[in-house]
């Protein structure tokens, strides 16, 4: 006994297993009266239990101690699990409990029950249900695994009892089990008796050990009971019958049964419920919420192991990130790994020390931050400390985090004023928009603003506040750029407001007769850099044609069709001139973030221009063939959004991971300053970054892994802040669990970025194949996991959590940067879409990959209440041609544009009502405007709502009539990704392909 007790102290140190204990007592099996439940089995397998009867009789009180040894048994028995598992089925249920960590036995009831006898069968069930359970308890939340599998097993008298006997048996073998592995023997009465004598003396220490946990327990107050196991089993995998042989369409193949993400992006819920103190999924999404425990397991998980981080995601009203000021005590961080204090740190030594959750170093609590602990080990002031209760906080940074005083928000415009810019009306729209945004630029009254315009020469503007009109200075020496004026090119907006307004008013007029078609882009960029490099800030480039003069001159590429399809094809998609990368590097160094707006209808080499945005954390806006009448609205909204959204300046981001894990690569628009420090001169809510993780050690010894994203930035109001997001994820030993906890959205996001990066170094075909191969590998592994005990035949099986993965994979292959061949999309379009997709947050990306399609004509005619939400009234349709009815009116929305598709047989009334007089005209020339009737108003309201739902981009409204080629194909048909178009595969064929490849060498 004494030795057993010595084992206990270990138990509190381990976070998860205790979980099993408390619910065991508190949550009796369904259908069994709670109190006596524990004792019912006593009457069942009489022989072993009887002796224990009397001492155990006092109800729950004694029951509780019993379970504790059973729990403690688990950690004790961890090392030697496999032998225990294979033991004779006669082994008591308790034996099966020990096997929590047993090698992942496939979790299907009845799939693997070797023994025919009743009770043992359920015991094995319990035993092999357990493999899930231990994963759930991985984290601190204790309640979960307590429900031994038996509880959830299918109801039925035999089941209940026997499963219970399994549980009841738990305690007894645990005692003999301690010294050795004899658990497997049928429980002799002897040890049990000893156990019944034991309680008074033995158990107190355990129960005493238990209270050490509550600290953790309290951390998860809202943790709810898990869903029943039966359900879990049912959902464990899905299968699709793909029994037909390709080529012969059997009736069994039903495309409509294929999974489709018609509800949009669904964030896995269970994870956030399990760890309510994790940061919200809008900030950090792991590709799987179960981290593999070993490298070998990680390598079997063929999907990416990583996360998508959107540090500044917009929070809905009421959920803003709390701001924490530590004042003079400074920010509490771990001495060794520099982790910020977060809800998962543990306070010990009556509040004088805290243990870092990432490197488990014991740190001192500074005097100012000290607080007493209450009886449960919780800090008394917990409720007043958001950093200890919330996964996301903003810390106010003290002087040590500043290299210089916080800079004012700076906006600098580099505007192309050549012939095409004025002709297309871009200049006018841009000037108007900038003027209208002057009031809303963040950071009043410190905001700085400046302008340079250029064609074949550079024009600087003196905006000194004492002037009444701006002064223009022309520099025509492009080889040796100099700044004509030391100050006043970049001015304080609130002081020079009138001059800036005068300038913007006169800008379109000044150049309206400009016939210059040259573009001295490179020199202008360099000049802007020279003006800005003192302060940094945001540089907005409005470029209208191919840079043709001075440094950074670009030449026409991609007009040689012979290059396509060869190994040199990728070179077209990367910057040709090193000038751009060099400039981007210099700009990042001086905290200049660049956003590129490109307007040309001709080739402008976005691949090169976009490099500027890519390495400075900016983004690319592309308006091919800009016409102010068509694209004006879009530019107006997007430019306004860019100027007025909350932006974080001169920021750096670092992602810290728990011991044994490190970030191996980053994907997105940024510059790496050191191996794991992302430099982001200007970052805002519409930017997301993907990170891939790798295991550093062959075996993770911890039960959980922590992630902490820290973004150090200057807010527009002039405060230096650190935004910290913390998340925890359990470490698992079971591949099945990893699949169960997978997050399709994050996986697709990482895949899309990988694929786009792949196109920069190889052919499009290769990039598409890579995606396909990755999905195939993952599905094959999953199949292997389950095919042993199931005769799956020719069914394609996939985890419930990944049911949309194949479709999104197809969507990635058909997305603008990757789809088709050279003829299907212009080079610029591809590159622009690539740069955009590299920065998109998960939700937005999924919408772009699988856009929504609604039928609206019926809804428009119905006189319904108007205030209902888009999602409630309209049903999303699969993106296939079958969804389109020629009598209907459809809206296609991918977040970047809205396409209104008018069926050929649509009632003319609707068309007339919507389009007014010119309803019969060619729709490419018609813009949708509100008409004086209910239907039109209703539709406009709907469109407005769609736009408001996601303000990051302004979806432009395009109209197309059925059969109007080639517009229809280009706008809509090509985007019906489930259909077979040209050389690309449809959804059905894609699934068949996947299936065939999965089965090959399966």
């Amino acid at each position: 006994m004494g030795t057993e007790n010595q084992g206990y102290p270990n138990f509190p140190a381990r976070p998860p297993p205790p979980s099993s204990s408390s619910p065991f007592a508190s949550a009796p099996p369904p259908g069994v009266p709670p109190q006596s439940g524990g004792f019912r089995p006593l009457s069942q397998p009489t022989r072993p239990f009887t002796p224990s009867g009397p001492p155990m009789a006092p109800p729950v009180g004694s029951m509780r101690p019993v379970q504790s040894p059973f729990v403690s048994q688990i950690p004790g028995s961890r090392p030697p699990p496999p032998p225990a598992y294979g033991g004779p089925p006669g082994g008591v249920g308790g034996g099966s409990f020990q096997r929590f960590p047993a090698p992942p036995p496939p979790p299907f009831p009845g799939a693997q029950n070797p023994p025919p006898s009743g009770p043992p069968a359920t015991q094995t069930l319990a035993g092999h249900l357990s493999p899930f359970r231990p994963q759930q308890p991985m984290g601190p939340p204790p309640q979960t695994s307590g429900r031994p599998g038996g509880y959830a097993s299918p109801p039925g008298p035999g089941f209940q009892q026997s499963s219970y006997s399994g549980v009841g048996g738990g305690p007894q073998p645990s005692f003999p089990g301690y010294p050795s592995n004899q658990v497997l023997q049928a429980p002799p009465p002897m040890p049990f008796q000893s156990s019944s004598q034991g309680p008074p003396s033995t158990y107190p220490p355990q129960t005493g050990g238990f209270p050490q946990h509550p600290g953790q327990q309290n951390l998860h107050p809202s943790y709810g009971p898990p869903t029943s196991n039966v359900q879990g089993l049912a959902e464990d995998f899905n299968s699709l019958s793909l029994s037909n042989i390709p080529g012969s369409l059997e009736p069994g193949l039903d495309p409509s049964s294929f999974p489709r993400p018609l509800d949009g992006d669904v964030v896995p819920k269970s994870f956030s419920e399990m760890y309510p103190m994790n940061c919200h999924s809008r900030y950090l999404r792991l590709t799987t919420s179960a981290i593999p425990s070993s490298q070998s397991l990680a390598s079997r998980w063929h999907l990416p192991l990583g996360a998508v981080v959107c540090p500044l995601a917009e929070a809905p009203e009421g959920e803003e990130v709390p701001l924490v000021d530590f004042g003079s005590s400074g920010i509490i961080r771990c001495r060794r790994c520099r982790t910020y204090v977060n809800p998962y740190v543990e306070f010990t030594d009556s509040g004088r020390k805290w243990r870092c959750n990432i490197c488990s170093l014991l740190n001192d609590v500074p005097g100012e931050y000290f607080s007493h602990l209450d009886a449960t080990g919780r800090r008394m002031d917990m409720d007043q400390r958001p950093e200890l209760t919330k996964g996301s906080v903003d810390f106010i940074a003290p002087t040590e985090y500043m290299v210089r005083p916080p800079v004012p928000p700076t906006y600098f415009f580099l505007i192309d004023v050549s012939f095409s810019a004025t002709k297309s009306g871009m200049l006018e729209v841009a000037a108007q928009t900038i003027k209208s945004c002057l009031d809303n630029l963040p950071g009043y009254p410190r905001t700085q603003i400046g302008f340079i315009t250029y064609d074949s020469t550079l024009h600087f503007y003196n905006l000194k506040s004492s002037l009444s009109q701006p002064q223009m200075m022309v520099v025509s020496d492009l080889d040796d750029i100099f700044i004509p004026l030391p100050d006043d090119l970049l001015v304080n907006l609130s002081e020079s407001r009138s001059v800036v307004e005068a300038f913007l008013d006169s800008l379109p007029l000044m150049f309206q007769d400009n016939v210059n078609v040259e573009s001295a882009f490179g020199p202008a960029l360099r000049a802007a850099y020279m003006v800005m490099n003192q302060l940094g800030g945001k540089l907005l480039i409005l470029q209208n044609s191919l840079p043709s003069l001075g440094a950074g001159r670009l030449k026409l590429r991609g007009d040689d069709p012979r290059v396509y399809g060869t190994d040199k094809e990728y070179a077209l998609r990367v910057a040709e001139d090193n000038f751009y990368k060099q400039m981007a590097a210099d700009c990042t160094k001086f905290q200049i973030g660049i956003n590129v707006y490109a307007f040309s209808d001709k080739y402008t080499d976005i691949a090169s221009l976009g490099t500027l945005a890519k390495y400075t954390g900016g983004q690319v806006y592309y308006y091919p063939g800009f016409q102010s009448s068509i694209h004006g609205d879009k530019l107006r909204h997007e430019l306004a959004r860019d100027l007025t959204r909350e932006t974080a300046w001169e920021s750096v981001m670092r992602i810290r991971c728990g011991k044994g894990i490190r970030s191996s690569s980053y994907h997105g628009n940024f510059m790496l300053r050191s191996t794991d420090l992302l430099a982001l001169p200007a970052v805002d809510c519409d930017k997301a970054y993907a990170v891939q993780l790798a295991l550093e050690e062959t075996l993770l010894s911890t039960q959980t892994v922590y992630f902490q994203v820290a973004l150090l930035y200057t807010a527009s109001c002039g405060e230096r802040r650190i935004r910290v997001h913390t998340a925890i994820a359990p470490v698992v030993t079971d591949l099945g669990e990893m699949y169960r906890q997978a997050d399709t959205g994050a996986i697709v996001s990482v895949y899309a970025r990988l694929a786009i990066e792949k196109t920069l170094s190889s052919k499009l075909d290769d990039a598409r194949n890579v995606i396909q191969q990755k999905i195939v590998k993952a599905l094959r592994e999953y199949r292997n996991l389950h095919s042993v005990q199931h005769r799956l035949g020719s069914r394609l099986i996939y985890p419930e959590s990944l049911k949309f993965l194949p479709l999104y994979g197809l969507a990635i292959c058909k997305s603008t940067p990757l789809h088709g061949g050279p003829a299907d999309a212009s080079l610029d379009e591809r590159c622009a879409a690539g740069f955009t997709m590299m920065a998109l947050p998960v939700k937005k990306l999924l919408k772009l990959l699988y856009p929504s399609l609604y039928r609206v004509d019926e809804w428009l005619l119905k006189a319904s209440v108007d205030h209902d939400d888009v999602k409630d009234v309209l049903r999303r349709l699969p993106l296939a041609a079958e969804s389109l009815d020629s009598r209907g009116l459809y809206i296609y929305d991918d977040g970047f544009r809205l396409v209104l598709w008018f069926g050929r047989m649509l009632s003319p009334d609707i068309a007339k009502n919507l389009l007014g007089a010119d309803f019969a005209a060619e729709l490419s020339k018609v813009t949708l405007e509100e008409q004086e009737n209910g239907i039109s108003k209703k539709l406009m309201r709907l469109i407005k709502k769609v736009r408001e739902n996601d303000p990051s981009y302004h979806p432009m409204c395009l109209l197309v009539r059925q059969g109007e080629q080639p517009r229809e194909g280009f706008l809509l048909l090509r985007n019906l990704i489930e259909d077979q178009m040209g050389g690309s595969t449809g959804y059905v064929d894609w699934m068949l392909q996947l299936h065939r490849q999965v089965q090959q060498n399966a």
Partner: protein, 218 residues
């Protein structure tokens, strides 16, 4: 010419505001900023004497005034008239107290009044050129007297603190080492005692033991 301007709280050296794009065209502005920080630290430790002081550093000179527990400091060329520099600081002080007066003590985060930089910027421009009518008038203003203001060298000023620190450190080292010495001496003493008496004690012990054994056996 005014090169840079900083405003800090004297009590704890917390920077409150700083001129915008200070240090432009200044090759080693970082070094001077370090010096300013060291100076502020010195001030917060109470090493200051005068509320107005000029401190020479390389080709430049720091001028500062301390008023209402706030230090206004500027760095100028040596050739820049002292009178103008102090009037510039005086201007800043008046405006700063007017705008932020009540909040100075409660400010917790660094650069809490960074918005003041626009005023600094504006005022700086007024003082940039010494030959404007306005500035000449100020120079000739006999009422504003700056001759008494002490001028010292930066090494000297920073050195005072450093030397004091050194002395402090040395004395503390001395105390701790003497304590160690005392402990060691005691220890040695004890050892000597043991060495001296141990053989005797052992011999006696053996003898007694023998006696006892003998008595027992017999």
């Amino acid at each position: 010419m005014v090169k840079m301007t900083l405003i800090a709280r004297v009590t704890d050296g917390l920077p409150l505001a700083e001129g915008l794009d200070d240090g432009r065209d200044l090759p080693d502005s970082d070094m001077y900023k370090q010096q300013v920080k060291a100076l502020f630290k010195n001030l917060s430790r109470g090493h200051n004497e005068a509320s107005r002081m000029s401190v020479e550093t390389g080709p430049y000179i720091f001028h500062y005034i301390i008023e209402g527990r706030v230090c206004y400091l500027t760095m100028c060329d040596r050739s820049y008239p002292k009178k103008l520099a102090f009037q510039y600081l005086e201007d800043l002080k008046n405006e700063f107290e007017r705008v932020n007066g009540p909040n100075i003590e409660t400010a917790a985060r660094p650069y809490a009044f960074i918005k003041f930089d626009t005023f600094i910027q504006k005022t700086k421009k007024l003082y940039q050129d010494t030959r404007t009518q306005r500035n000449i008038a100020k120079l000739n203003d006999e009422l504003y007297e700056v001759h008494q203001i002490m001028t010292r060298n930066v090494q000297e000023v920073l050195g005072v603190g450093e030397k004091l620190d050194q002395v402090c450190e040395m004395s503390s080292r001395l105390t701790s080492e003497s304590r160690v010495y005392a402990d060691k001496a005691k220890d040695l003493n004890r050892q000597a005692l043991i060495r001296k008496w141990a053989p005797v004690a052992i011999v006696l012990g053996v003898v007694f033991l023998l006696f006892w054994v003998k008595n027992k056996l017999w």
